[in-house]
């Protein structure tokens, strides 16, 4: 072996070690088990980011369908977990729309809405609006709010205190 080969090996190993050190100090694992968990999470994230950069990112269709089944069965927390797993990079507008919708439906109440859940729904609703654009209309017959803008408006209205909130006829409103 020539001296140059040792130099190349040295550059490669040092770079690898450098990346490992950055990973260690950035994730700060608390134990060796934690180290393997964080390593796999970092690798998954790196793969997803790579897919986003190369334009090959896709949602996990199987998990999305499972999430949709939970959504229709009114188990919104379980649905959100699966939607998040289906779209870890939050790049799919449709999935974000359903996440926002799950916050709306879970937070909706006949007499008063859950402000905390409505607030959490705002961000995915805005994200869905940005990703899908104004022309998107959902073909899901189960949903009465067909566009991200309508959903966002409903969430914002739910958070606002107006004189309509004290109208007893409001109890007759239906969940959308």
């Amino acid at each position: 072996m020539k001296s140059k080969h040792f130099q190349i090996i040295g550059i490669f190993l040092s770079s690898l070690f450098g990346v490992f050190i950055i990973f260690l100090y950035a994730t700060a694992p608390r134990s060796l088990e934690d180290l393997s968990l964080k390593a796999s999470a970092t690798v998954t994230k790196a793969i997803n980011t790579g897919q986003v950069v190369t334009g090959t990112y896709q949602v996990d269709e199987k998990k999305f369908q499972q999430g949709l089944n939970y959504f229709r069965a009114n188990d919104f927390s379980s649905a959100r977990v699966l939607f998040d797993e289906a779209d870890p990079e939050k790049r799919d507008g449709k999935t974000q729309f359903y996440i926002a919708y799950s916050f709306y439906r879970q937070g909706w109440g006949r007499f008063s809405s859950d402000d905390e859940l409505f607030k959490r729904g705002l961000e995915p609703a805005k994200r869905a609006q940005t990703l899908l654009g104004g022309e998107f209309t959902s073909d899901d017959t189960d949903l009465k709010l067909k566009t991200p803008a309508a959903l966002l408006n409903e969430l914002e209205e739910g958070l606002r205190v107006t004189s309509d909130d004290f109208n007893p006829l409001g109890a007759l409103d239906e969940r959308k």
Binding site: S3, K4, F6, I11, S14, F17, G18, L24, A28, R30
Partner: protein, 230 residues
């Protein structure tokens, strides 16, 4: 051993002689061993073990460690422990310059983390030990230094800082698993010092690991040649 080469002549290639084998060993040490060793020191320098549950903590170095390491690098260059033109030069190949640059960067990183390891994390001890380091490095900057004097000075100041942090201050820290009332009754002195000096509580394993780190740093300095060609 015979091998066919491009011009279709059979030539005899002798196995590497003692001189060639020595060159290989030297290349492995300089281009692979040293940078990895220094990066390893850098990795270990920020590790502490919690006294409560023994979990690992990675502490990023405070800004002052970078200042100290920069001063140390200047001292290393001034004393001739490392000659910059002997490590990075236009007469060397690109890969040679890259690996030498990486080794010097790793030396700086290891120095930062050694200071991170030796400085107390917070409170009055942090400022006192920082001042001692600052004073030593500052006076050395203007002193007439050679390699031996620099290494002696560094060894003494590092040993002193290690003893202060991992023996003296560690023994003044109250046990982490004791509540305040029981620690005031059982160890009033340690409790008072922990409170007054704002001492962090690390497990004993931290001291062992940092001793190992310091030893590796000294070994790396020992193997560091002034010039890559020497």
């Amino acid at each position: 051993m015979e091998r066919l080469i491009e011009n279709k002549k059979l030539v005899a290639i002798s196995p590497p002689g003692p001189l060639q084998a020595e060159e290989h060993r030297r290349a492995v040490l300089l281009h692979i061993g040293l940078p990895i060793l220094l990066l390893f020191v850098g990795t270990l320098g920020g590790i502490r073990f919690s006294a409560i549950d023994g979990s690992i903590m990675f502490l990023a170095p405070p800004l002052i460690c970078l200042v100290f390491a920069a001063a140390l690098m200047i001292l290393i260059l001034r004393s001739g422990l490392v000659r910059l033109d002997g490590w990075i030069s236009e007469k060397f190949s690109l890969t040679q310059n890259i690996i030498d640059g990486i080794t010097l960067a790793a030396l700086f990183f290891a120095s930062v983390q050694v200071f991170n390891s030796l400085l107390p994390e917070q409170g009055v001890p942090f400022w006192i030990v920082s001042f001692c380091f600052f004073w030593t490095l500052w006076t050395n900057l203007f002193a007439d230094l050679d390699t031996k004097k620099l290494l002696r000075s560094l060894a003494s100041v590092f040993c002193l800082a290690f003893v202060v942090k991992y023996l003296l201050l560690a023994n003044l820290t109250k046990p982490a698993n004791e509540g305040w009332i029981s620690s005031v009754i059982n160890n009033p002195g340690q409790t008072a010092f922990t409170w007054l000096l704002d001492l962090p509580q690390f497990s004993a394993g931290t001291g062992y690991l940092q001793f190992f780190t310091l030893a590796l740093f000294v070994i790396a300095l020992y193997f560091l040649p002034p010039s890559i060609e020497e």
